[in-house]
Symmetry: C2
Subunit: 260 residues, 2 copies
Amino acid sequence: MSPSLSPAKLQLIALPGIPLVKPGDDLAHFILGGVAAADESLSTGDVLVIAQKIVSKAENRYVDLRQVTPSARARELADLCHKDPRLVELILSESDEVLRCQPGIVIVVHRLGIIFANAGIDSSNVEPEGEAERVLLVPQDPDGTCRRLRGELRERSGVDLAVIINDSVGRAWRNGTVGIALGASGLPSLHDLRGRRDLFGRSLVVTQEGIADELAAAASLLQGQAGEGAPVVLIRGLKLAGAAANAAALIRPKAKDLFR
Amino acid sequence: MSPSLSPAKLQLIALPGIPLVKPGDDLAHFILGGVAAADESLSTGDVLVIAQKIVSKAENRYVDLRQVTPSARARELADLCHKDPRLVELILSESDEVLRCQPGIVIVVHRLGIIFANAGIDSSNVEPEGEAERVLLVPQDPDGTCRRLRGELRERSGVDLAVIINDSVGRAWRNGTVGIALGASGLPSLHDLRGRRDLFGRSLVVTQEGIADELAAAASLLQGQAGEGAPVVLIRGLKLAGAAANAAALIRPKAKDLFR
């Protein structure tokens, strides 16, 4: 039988004991500590899914809203969406295009290409710091961070893993957030089924599966969104086949997107 | 600590030995056989995720295209999208509204409310039968099927499970299909985080997580889309809290959807 993405079992383990992350913290160190605290050791083929929030914190993606001066355009949009003009200024500075703006909602095309409410900027689970009005931007280059973290983990553990940074996002058409991959390294994020055959030998028409997004969604079940503090999930048992692709491969180009 | 949706571990097991399903087959029987073949027994809180395709087959949702006479409207759309007019007739008969139609693509609002390419009608993994040109529609009432299957499994095993029917679908904005829940019973498909507090005691703004869709996506990793034939996945370890909601709760009403 050829290599397959369908193993018999998958295990997801929320790594215990990951501390609150501060700017400059060594995430690889925390992760290896969490693996040890879980009484596990890493194996080739393991996937680590890391919550966006702790990556942003480690990379000091905090902004103090008191330092932000809203432009005329930001003030105009803020009137339409009933949001803080300084936050809207930040959203604009993180984005290529505003797709929707109405009371309570701003949806943009983030400069990474991801379509995001509020450009992914978050103020929940952000530690207060004195008088600062801190919010947290998404990482500058999530695919790059995954590649770098993967290298560090390989160097320190000797094991070649896959790494995903995930975030919970809203969707068109459906209620409820789900986890998606903001960044990925070391796995076929978009798994190409072209050329494979179905149970009855015919070519498959549906050709690509968003593997990294499915892994991100699965990990999200363990991470929780509230006070659980389980930001890193180890996924074990996935048989990864196919050429590696980063999370940018999951972004549908504007020209091919019928729903903007 | 209050009940939480964040357990330390989740396990996903693709049940072995599920036979090819024929109309009228007893899925609960096959599933209990698969649980036994996996050397597992069911426990309260377990979630069974069942691929749409085997539910449709058991419910005899086959249609022979030779029996379908396309309407004038179907022939018109078929010209636009370069599809078989008989298939387009079926798509229309399954749908409330056509959202997009262009070469190679028809995206509709299915009568269940789900936004679907080709109304979810599929011809891969459909057994040939003589001269028939068979395709397979999605189940008539996936939430109802989940409720019924859950009742049957409870009756025969004594255990109260959650049941999801999943399907792989395309999405706005992102490449690659992911699993979503077409039907669900016995779990909070849409988990409401309103009133919960973040790590620093503030109320959360993002309030609802699409739990059943995340479970559906996770199971999809094991089911594969090609010839793997692992249509039922047992998910174990999820701590389900909150009021049960079926998969219909995951559908965003048209009036609240900014992206149709």
